[in-house]
Homo-oligomer: 111 residues x 2
DNA sequence: AGCGCAGTTGCATAATTGTTCAAGTCGCAA
DNA sequence: TTGCGACTTGAACAATTATGCAACTGCGCT
């Protein structure tokens, strides 16, 4: 009996539900990067980054390849970019709505 | 100082990271529904569903409106459908990849 | 072989989330 | 105004997830 699809989706979203993991995916959108570069951009301890990378790996969202003494990560699929785009659109829309609400509240206070 | 965008994205994904919440969003894609109907489709206690709905409400993902003695929920934005589509595509691709891997493993075993 | 650098893993503890049940609110109808 | 159905809320306890530190692996250099 397969995992229900809604469960798989929830699991997937949960693996994206951490700021460091989001940053990793955003950085990898530009192309593969070694851990060292990720570490330079994300303010977090090396071991903690490793843990987050492991979570992304286990979920199949990124893949790692050893190159000499460094490890290079890349997105498992470019479709992830679409997803991040969709979220960006939703968040900006939500922020706009909040802005409008805020404007209304101000108008009310001054009216 | 505003919440960093990657933090907002992570929070957003986390609010989607629960099977019941995913089911709610999927059902609401078709249009607004009263709690009673959601409850009929999702196998979960009423109070638990309420908790999950509250989480979605607080995140601004759905909105609720009282109509007589029932409460009707709807998606805050239709853009959510795009997001769910993107996830579906990603998951199916990931499953296909796994299928291919499985096929390879079988070929190896019998070869 | 012995070192040091780049990452990773294990594990203990702290912090968040989820689940359940009891109690509470709101509208409606008797 | 009492009662009931439809939801929601609060709070306690269980389960997951996050964090930080120490130990460990793999590679390249000397």
């Amino acid at each position: 009996m397969p995992v229900p699809l809604y469960q798989a989706k929830a699991d997937f979203f949960r693996t994206l539900g951490h700021p460091a993991r989001i940053r990793v995916l955003e950085l990898l959108q530009e192309g593969p990067l070694p851990v060292r570069d990720l570490l330079a951009q994300i303010d977090i301890e090396a071991s903690s980054l490793s843990q987050q990378l492991a979570i992304l790996r286990r979920a199949g969202v990124v893949s790692a390849e050893r190159e000499g003494s460094t490890v290079v990560y890349s997105l498992a699929t470019p479709e992830l970019a679409d997803l991040l785009d969709a979220v960006r659109r939703i968040l900006t829309e939500m922020l706009v709505d909040q802005g409008e609400l805020l404007a209304e509240l101000r108008a009310e206070a001054h009216g």
